[in-house]
Every structure is written in C-alpha cells, then in structure tokens.
Amino acid sequence: MNSKTKKAYLLNAVAVFLVYIVFLTLIRFKVLSNYFGGVIILTCIMMIMALSLNIVAGFLGEMALGHAAFMAIGAYLSGFTSIAIMNAFPTAPALLVLIFSSLVGGVAAGIAGIAIGTPSLRLRGDYLGIVTIGFGEIVRIFFINFDPLGGAQGLKGIPRLTNLSYAYWITVLVVFLIFTLGVSKYGRAIMSIREDEIASEASGIPTTRVKVMAFTISSFFAGIGGSLYAHYQGYIDPDKFQFMFSIEMFVIVVLGGLGSLTGSILSAIVLTVLPELLRGFAQYRLLIYSLALVIMMIFRPQGMLGRTEFSLYHLIYVLTNKREPYKKGSIDGGKSS
C-alpha cells in the first residue's frame, strides 16, 4: 500500500464517518424525521442490492433479471432464523442476531446462486436474462405455496432489528467488500469474461468457475440485503419479490452505469429518493418517474457514470487545482457515500 492509496483510504473512511455523524445528528435533533431515517435505510438496502447485482450485471456483463429471488431467499431465511432465535433467547443482543441471521440468509441465497448459476451460466445474454426471470418467478411461487414460511399471507413477526446505524454500517462493509473484490485478481478475472469470454479462457481464466463464483457472491450479498429488508419491515410477503422488483434493481444498475459501483450507489440514492420526493404528486408520480427514466436514458445511454468510478481523493485533487493523481486501473480503491 503506497502513501497515495493510504491517503485515499483515510479520506474515504473520514467521509463515510462524517456522513454517518451528520445523519445521526440531524435525526437526533429532529431536523430529519424518522421518515427520512426509513428512507435512508431503504436506500442503504437498495444500494446493497444494486451493488451486488452489479457484480453479475456490470462486472460479469450478464443480464440477470431475477435478483429479487435471491433477496427473497435471504429475507425469508434470515427472518425465520431470527424469529427462532428470539423465541429461544428473547434477550439475545440485537446486533448479533441480525448479523447471524443475515449470514444465514446470505449463505442460503449464495447456495441458491450456485444451484441456479451452475447450469444456467452456460447461456448468454438475453437467454440468461429470461432464465433468471423464470427462476425468480419460481422462487416467488414457491414462497406463495410454502406454508411453513407463511405462504401467501407472508411471514409476520420478524423482529425489527434493522435500525439506521446497523443498516448504514453493514452497507458500508458490503460496499467496501464489493469494491475490494472489484480491484483484485478475482475482479479482473470476472471483468475479462465480460470483455471476451473466449480470450479470457485462453488467458488461463477458468471461466465457468469464475462465473459461478461471481454469481454466488452476488447472490450472497443479495441475501444480506434481503435480511436487512426483512428486519426493517418486520413483515415480508411473496408479492413484494415480483419480477418488476428485479427489474427495478436492474434499472438502478444500468442507470448508474454498468460496472460502475459508485454509479450504482448514486443511482440507488436517486431512484429510491425520487419516488419519495414525488409522493406529493399523487397519481402523476409514476408517470413522471417513468418519463424521467426514458429521458435519462436518451441523454446518457451509458448510465450516469458510465464505467468510470467516482473517487473522492481524485475530486479533491482536481478541486485544489493540483495535478491529477496517478490512478491505477479503472476501479480505484476509493469509495464514497
């Protein structure tokens, strides 16, 4: 780690911490209401979903339209786990229960990712897209018909363990992990498949294994997102995880820029907050939202950030009129919130 990267890391850590403090103070002193707190939590969850989807959609370059299914698996299993834990040990510390059940949900979603990824990753492009849609629907229909987890009525009584702090820091951790994945030999291997699968294989990358790995990691984090969601809502039902929800996540990723993690973050914020801002417009809300989507795509078809990453370190350098720092790789170690 050279001094520049160190500085960038430190800068980002400070920024992440500052943002947290600012939000916390604003909410503590009632400048921002709990409603905003809820929106922030949801934004965090959508960030996790978008970033995890970006591993498959952006890094690997595959059209994955069944992300809601992995979220559902994570949500249901983690919810079920924490209900069981809370029944057995009513005094168990919230954070521990949340982390444990999130891991259960994440692992379950990851296993589902292996199960669906191994056979279907032989397909490419739109065909993979349609298989993932199919998988998503099958998972949803399964939960409708599976009564031990509430069936169509949904799973009620999940402890509401997700609060702003937990959501924020878990998101920061997930963002960090996905960033570090991107700038490692694993990330490069995944991206090489996106660029040219045949050349990647010919360069010694075991493409099938790497693809399944990417799919699994992506589903794992989706499961974590699902767990946060379940513990925020306290109630989940299969209807939430419809095909359109997967599409919404995909829209976030493409709008942010495929393969750009900071783009996904930005876009998750915009697309979660925008409908809330438009809430006052009553029935015009979705009309404006959909039109905004079309216009944004026409103006910036490559997404808000394209494939580049926003780097705070870089920005400060440019703002202070110094020479641009040396930047290695298209994905930098920088992250921001």
């Binding site: 397909l123 298989v131 849609i133 199919g134 229909i141 995909f250 078809p301």
Partner: protein
C-alpha cells in the same frame, strides 16, 4: 378423455393469443435485438381501443378489429420513434431500460385516462356453444383460433413473398449490409413495429373478448408469458414464436388441469429453463456458434 380434449381446446385458445403477442416480441427482437417491454402495454391499449370502438361507438366487429389494430400500430410506431430511435446506437441495455420506462409510462397513462376499474369488453362476436362429440367449444374460441391462424399465415406470406418482407429479414440479419442494398432501415423498423403492434393489439382484443376484462395492468402477465413463448420457440424466429405461443398455452392449461393450478406458472418457467439448457437458442432458434 373428453376432459382431456376439452383442455386441449382451452390450451389452443390461450396459446393462439400468446402466439399473436409473441410475434411482436420476436419481430422487434429480430431487428433491433431489443426486448420490447412495452409490447404488453401496446396489447393493453389495443384492448382499450377495441373497447372504445365497441362500447361507445357501437361499431361492427370487423371495424372494431381494424380500428384497434390501426391505432395500436400507430402507437407502436410512435413509441419506436420517440423512445427507441434516439437510442439505436446506444448500448442494448440502455434501450431495454427505456423500454421498461415506456412500459411503465403507458400503463400509468392508461390508468389516468381510462381509470382504475376494469372495463368489461362487450361481446363483439356472437357466443354460441357447439357440442362436438361431447366436447364443448364456444364460437369465441373458434374465432380466436381462426383469426390468429389467419393473421399468422398472412404474416408468413408477407415476410417470405414481398419486397418489404425481405427487407425486414435483411435488416434483421445485417443492418449495415441492408443499407448498402438501398433498404431504408428506419422505415423497415417502423413497419416492423407497425406489424408487431397490430398483431399485439389483435391479441389484446381476443384476450379481452375471451376473458372479458380490460384493465391498465392487463398487459403485464400475458406480455411476460408471450415473451417466454417467443424465447421458448427461439426468439427472432416467427414460426418459433407461434410454436412457442401454442406450447405455452398448452403447458399452462395441462398443468392447471392435471398437476396444480397454483404451480402452473412455475411449471411453465421450469420447462422454459430446461428447454433452454438443452437448446440454448430455443426450439426453432438458429444455433449461431461464435467463431474463434
């Protein structure tokens, strides 16, 4: 046995509607490599147009059909012109997102214009139930199947025997080369949307006639299933879309009749996944191996 044949008829009925809608997906995909998510909404508008023609203007049924197909065709072309054409050179996924946006937009426009309560499609064909060897077939089923097959044959003739049809094939194969032959790509794309949307509208009319209900969200599910049908048959292939449509209709009805009504959709998707795993480009899709 009687029950089985009854279910076959049911399957053919819904299958022919899926097939009509699937053609629209397949045509557009063939030419622009775009999954036109808004196609289900075009179908929905087709149903509303026919509702307006039949319920408020009291037109004869052939006019209802022409009126609705015509308006929907214009709507389809308009969507292409406004939302897809500016993105012709953009990454394909961006166009896909635009299509999703257009789909949401149209759905909400229809919600505002036509209201949330479902409308009931008046019967534009007389309904008579025929009893053939104990199997009951309603005239609506016969008309649905008949009209679908008629238009599918018409389309096949158009594509293989007319100049414009050949132009469509050429553009879907190689756009650059097609331009060099003097083919107007923009016009060809417009015509593709025209045909696809008109057939989608017909699907909407028949769908709403058979199932009586018209609502702003009615396009979503049949749209998705028709898209599945197009992929199952081999997206880009017109005969594939027809075959896929009938297959999906049949699978759906048979699983409802003999396996489980609530798992029927899951079974449809499962079969799709299995078919794709063994034949990655769909049943009639052409295997194009990437050259190394």
């Amino acid at each position: 046995m009687k029950l089985f044949f009854q279910q076959v008829i049911n399957g053919l009925n819904s299958g022919s509607i899926y097939a009509l809608i699937a053609i629209g997906y397949t045509l557009v995909y063939g030419i622009l490599k775009l999954i036109n998510f808004a196609h289900g909404e075009i179908m929905m508008f087709g149903a509303y147009f026919s509702f307006i023609a039949a319920a408020t203007m009291d037109m004869p049924f052939w006019f209802v059909i022409i009126f609705s197909m015509g308006l929907s065709a214009i709507l389809g072309m308009l969507v292409e012109f406004v939302a897809y054409r500016p993105l012709r050179q953009a990454p394909r996924l961006s166009a896909l997102i635009t299509a999703i946006g257009v789909s949401m937009f149209l759905q909400n426009v229809s919600l505002m214009v036509f209201g949330a309560d479902p409308k009931v499609m008046p019967r534009i064909f007389p309904n008579v139930v025929f009893n053939i060897f104990g199997i009951e077939i309603s005239s609506i089923t016969l008309i649905t199947i008949g009209l679908s097959v008629f238009f599918m044959i018409l389309l096949e003739l158009f594509i293989s025997h007319t100049k414009q049809g050949r132009a469509m094939r050429a553009v879907s194969e190689n756009q650059d080369a097609a331009i060099l032959m003097g083919i107007n790509v923009n016009r060809t794309v417009s015509i593709t949307f025209l045909i696809g949307s008109a057939l989608g509208a017909l699907g909407g009319i028949l769908y709403s006639t058979a199932y009586t209900n018209i609502a702003p969200t009615m396009g979503t599910m049949p749209g998705l299933k028709a898209f599945v049908a197009a992929v199952l048959g081999g997206i880009g292939s017109v005969p594939g879309a027809m075959l896929g449509g009938f297959l999906i209709g049949m699978i759906e009805n048979m699983s409802k009749a003999y396996i489980s009504t609530t798992w029927a959709d899951a079974i449809v998707f499962l079969i799709l996944i299995i078919v794709l795993l063994f034949k990655p480009t769909g049943i009639l899709g052409k295997d194009i191996k990437e050259k190394v």
